[in-house]
């Protein structure tokens, strides 16, 4: 048999068709969930992180275990980089994401959210002996963006010590949005693909401060032997959203129902509070 150019063409077309079929959404077949695949970053302590032996640990893996028992469905957790995580969900690589994802209007255009399971503020981290020694508003009650006068005052106070400095933030996060909206003109924003890298560069002195979730900052500060501290006002609401929730595809309303029910159960019976105290050392349970 002689191989001609058209044989190759047929082969190529066949392979392309096979790929296209394989990539087609499989939602039509399975409405009854046997296994739910949940993506997380594995690098966002204490929400989720890798244990030295490679297991995923943190609040979210344990919470997912609780939810799995209550839903009676097996849940598998897989690690996935944050940039591209939402695209992977809509493409059907997995069925849900649990990575301290805050509910924001922009994200709600693309994906659905369960009810929130954590609500914390966002603020700045600095090095005790670093280029910024302190920020105003440390220890003050959290400032909700809804209270415009208070938020404006807090931002103005922070603008003075932060002027001309470089602030690190993880790319495409709500904290990134806050920096872009309120601080863009006075400081340099440097965006990182992953959260821990921002703290690494704060420690080495490449950046002067990090903006991140309060819980994230506290977990990192605790490991720094007091070298790194949370400083300045903490913000909530507005661009920062109403809390973290499980991200789902819009086409899976029954999955949202299952997760919402299970979440309500763990909030009502105090399981979530117990987990939060274990991992965060504070109660971040949203109102039931």
């Amino acid at each position: 048999m002689t191989i001609t150019r058209s044989d190759f063409l047929k082969l190529g077309l066949g392979a392309a068709a096979g790929l296209a079929l394989g990539a087609a959404p499989r939602s039509a077949a399975a409405k009854e969930w046997k296994v739910i695949r949940v993506a997380t970053e594995g690098a966002f302590p204490p929400y989720n992180m890798h244990a030295p032996d490679g297991r995923l640990i943190g609040l979210e893996p344990e919470l997912l275990q609780e939810l799995s028992t209550r839903m009676g469905v097996k849940c598998e957790m897989i690690a996935q980089a944050w940039d591209g995580m939402i695209a992977g969900l809509t493409d059907g690589k997995y069925d849900a994401i649990m990575d301290a994802v805050s509910i924001t209007p922009k994200r709600e255009e693309v994906i659905a959210f369960s009810r929130p399971y954590a609500s914390a503020g966002s603020g700045f981290a600095i090095m005790k002996e670093g280029s910024i020694k302190s920020l105003p508003g440390t220890g003050a009650p959290r400032v909700p963006f809804a209270d415009e006068a208070a938020a404006k005052k807090a931002i103005e106070e922070l603008a003075k010590p932060l002027a001309g400095k470089t602030v690190a933030v993880q790319v495409a996060t709500i904290q990134n949005d806050v920096l872009n909206r309120y601080f863009k003109d006075i400081l340099t924003i440097r965006t990182y693909p992953s959260g821990p890298d921002t703290f690494l560069d704060l420690k080495s002195g490449r950046v002067d401060a990090v903006m991140a979730s309060q819980i994230n900052i506290q977990a990192t500060a605790k490991k720094s032997n007091g070298e790194m501290i949370q400083a300045g006002y903490l913000f909530t609401g507005g661009l920062l959203g109403v809390g973290s929730a499980i991200g789902l595809r819009k086409g899976d309303p029954e999955l949202k129902e299952m997760f919402d029910k299970a979440l309500k159960a763990v909030i009502d019976d105090g399981t979530l509070k117990k987990l939060a105290l274990k991992w965060f050392e504070m109660d971040i349970t949203p109102a039931s």
Partner: protein, 233 residues
């Protein structure tokens, strides 16, 4: 595919083009100097040749991504580095990226140069010696031009691969074409359109470079042209 969205994303990505080009040009210049240095070292002595071999072995044998990570995050771990006079430079992600690209390019280019030098025929060298040229004149007029011409196709490939390698600089916060593309993807979740646009920009860049190298190769090889064309040239 959404044409309006693509029209809107292209200028955003093109804003990263100057940085991409600057990274590529600086690392090629630096890499070229390192390659010349390595060639000199190789010719100098037995020990020098071993040192050059070891350098090439290390930088060709490890992934560029890891070299970037080592230089950017690795060096910053040492207080000695953070307190040295070089820190104001190494503090900048830009400098670290150029340094890594440069060191890597130097290793590859020195091998390309070595191949080019080896390909210079002994006949040409003998003829030069017979006509009474000094070592330096011979190097300048016979060896280097011939070596350069022989190495050109391989070096052209190295230029294009360096242009593509600059995309790795996005992992150390540099907002070149790939960095902007990644940030836009995590903002808009439209991976296909954005990455295709970014790929198209690199493709155009690489095509232009490949054409330029082809032209240069033609220009430097008059003996390959048909006689008629040669008399015109």
């Amino acid at each position: 595919m959404d044409i309006a969205f693509i029209a809107q994303i292209f200028p955003k990505l093109l804003a990263g083009l100057p940085l991409t080009l600057l990274l590529a040009v600086l690392s090629l210049l630096g890499g070229g100097l390192i390659a010349l240095g390595l060639s000199g070292l190789r010719a100098s002595s037995w020990i020098g040749a071993r040192v050059a071999d070891f350098y090439v072995y290390i930088f060709r044998g490890t992934p560029l991504l890891i070299q970037i990570f080592l230089i950017y995050y690795g060096l910053a771990q040492f207080p000695a580095v953070r307190h040295s006079v070089l820190w104001p430079l190494l503090r900048e992600p830009y400098v670290c990226a150029v340094l890594a690209l440069m060191l890597n390019d130097g290793a590859y280019t020195s091998e390309i140069l070595r191949g080019g030098l080896r390909a210079v025929s002994t006949g040409a060298i003998e003829a030069a010696r017979v006509s009474g040229m000094t070592r330096l004149t011979m190097l300048r007029r016979i060896v280097l031009p011939l070596a350069f011409r022989q190495a050109l196709p391989a070096y052209g490939a190295e230029i294009t691969s360096m242009v593509k390698a600059t995309s790795l600089a996005s992992v150390v916060t540099l907002m070149e074409i790939t960095g902007i593309a990644r940030a836009e993807v995590s903002e808009t979740y439209r991976a296909i359109e954005i990455f295709l646009c970014a790929a198209a920009i690199y493709l155009v860049l690489v095509t232009v470079i490949a054409r330029a190298v082809d032209w240069l190769e033609q220009h430097l090889s008059p003996y390959r042209r048909p006689t008629g064309a040669r008399s015109l040239a």
